[in-house]
């Protein structure tokens, strides 16, 4: 199965990359882009056909390795 993990900086954490992108976009004339937050995106190929197992595995990996809980939160999608 495949799991997708989205890791984003918590709302309370300043995102310098996102800020830079917004500024750049606005200077290019994209006034309608009000805010940008940049995160990481992982596609995991998992050797399992059980959805529950895949979800558990992805969550464990995200918790332990892919995200740093001090600054980041994550979301998982499995299909």
């Amino acid at each position: 199965m495949r799991a997708r993990v989205f890791v984003t900086l918590k709302k309370s954490v300043f995102d310098p990359q996102g800020r830079t992108i917004v500024d750049a976009l606005q200077s290019l004339g994209y006034q309608d882009v009000v805010d940008v937050r940049q995160g990481k995106y992982f596609e995991l190929d998992l050797a399992t056909t059980e959805r529950a197992h895949a979800e558990k595995l992805a969550a464990e990996v995200a918790d332990k390795v892919l995200a740093n809980p001090v600054i980041e939160s994550y979301r998982i999608e499995v299909d």
């Binding site: 900086l9 309370s12 954490v13 310098p16 830079t20 390795v65 892919l66 740093n68 001090v70």
Partner: protein, 246 residues
């Protein structure tokens, strides 16, 4: 004094740390390979700079799983002096041996240059030879040195006097314009609650010889080297632990 320099795959300031300890300060020093679980009798540990495991995910994120980190943690818990420099600092954060996390530099670029630092605390094994308020000039070289701690954590850190160095102007005044990376409260170095584990973004090992353009990094090594053997182990940190002073 016997230095143990922890080498992760991707460490690249390991030789520099060894050279400083052994050749500049005349101490025993040995590499500790990350797959080993033996600290080879080290009295003090340095986690050097570099890009452990490539730092592709987050700086320090993978290194904390290395086998050597278990004995490092045990050593730290016993009060042993541990210094994380640059990537070493990042690893200590990821490993939870120090509080907080690193973000990318405010300007998003890697920066290598000299910065000014004010010594905030002298009761750590790595700043005991310095004087409070002293201004040091030392090189940095990092892309992710923008230290962050959530407000509550930050409050505790400040209340416990865990900030060891801050980025300042040449006169020792904290000034946003002189911060190379946007760290919260201009934090450049930090210690743990017990004060025996210190992480710093600047590179003291790059500032120990006049030929390299400055010797302000010596005070970091002098602090640990001059303390009588074993003193650091049971000494400074323990004495000042809040629980023990209370």
């Amino acid at each position: 004094m016997r230095f143990g320099i922890v080498v992760f795959p991707g460490s690249n300031c390991d030789e520099d740390a060894l050279y400083a300890a052994r050749d500049v300060f005349g101490q025993d020093a040995e590499y500790l390979w990350h797959k080993d679980a033996d600290l080879k009798g080290a009295d003090v540990l340095i986690l050097p700079g570099g890009f452990a495991h490539g730092d592709y995910l987050r700086t320090g994120a993978m290194a904390r799983f290395s086998p050597i980190m278990a004995p490092v943690r045990a050593f730290a818990e016993r009060g042993g002096p541990v210094l994380g420099i640059c990537n070493g600092f990042q690893i200590l954060l990821e490993a939870g041996l120090l509080p907080g996390a690193m973000l990318r530099n405010r300007g998003l670029k890697y920066r290598c240059e000299h910065v000014y630092l004010r010594v905030e605390q002298t009761d750590t094994p790595f700043t005991s030879a310095a004087t409070a308020g002293q201004v040091l000039k030392m090189p940095i070289g990092h892309g992710e040195g923008n230290y962050f701690a959530p407000p509550e954590m930050l409050k505790t850190i400040e209340a416990n006097h865990q900030v060891v160095l801050r980025y300042t102007d040449p006169q020792g005044r904290v000034d946003e314009a002189w911060s190379p990376n946007g760290s919260v409260n201009a934090i450049a170095a930090l210690c743990n609650d017990a004060r025996n584990v210190v992480g710093m973004m600047p590179h003291p090992e790059r500032a120990c010889e006049a030929l390299l353009g400055g010797v302000d990094g010596r005070v970091i090594f002098d602090s640990i080297v001059r303390s009588p053997k074993g003193f650091a182990l049971q000494g400074i940190g323990r004495r000042l632990q809040p629980s023990q002073t209370a």
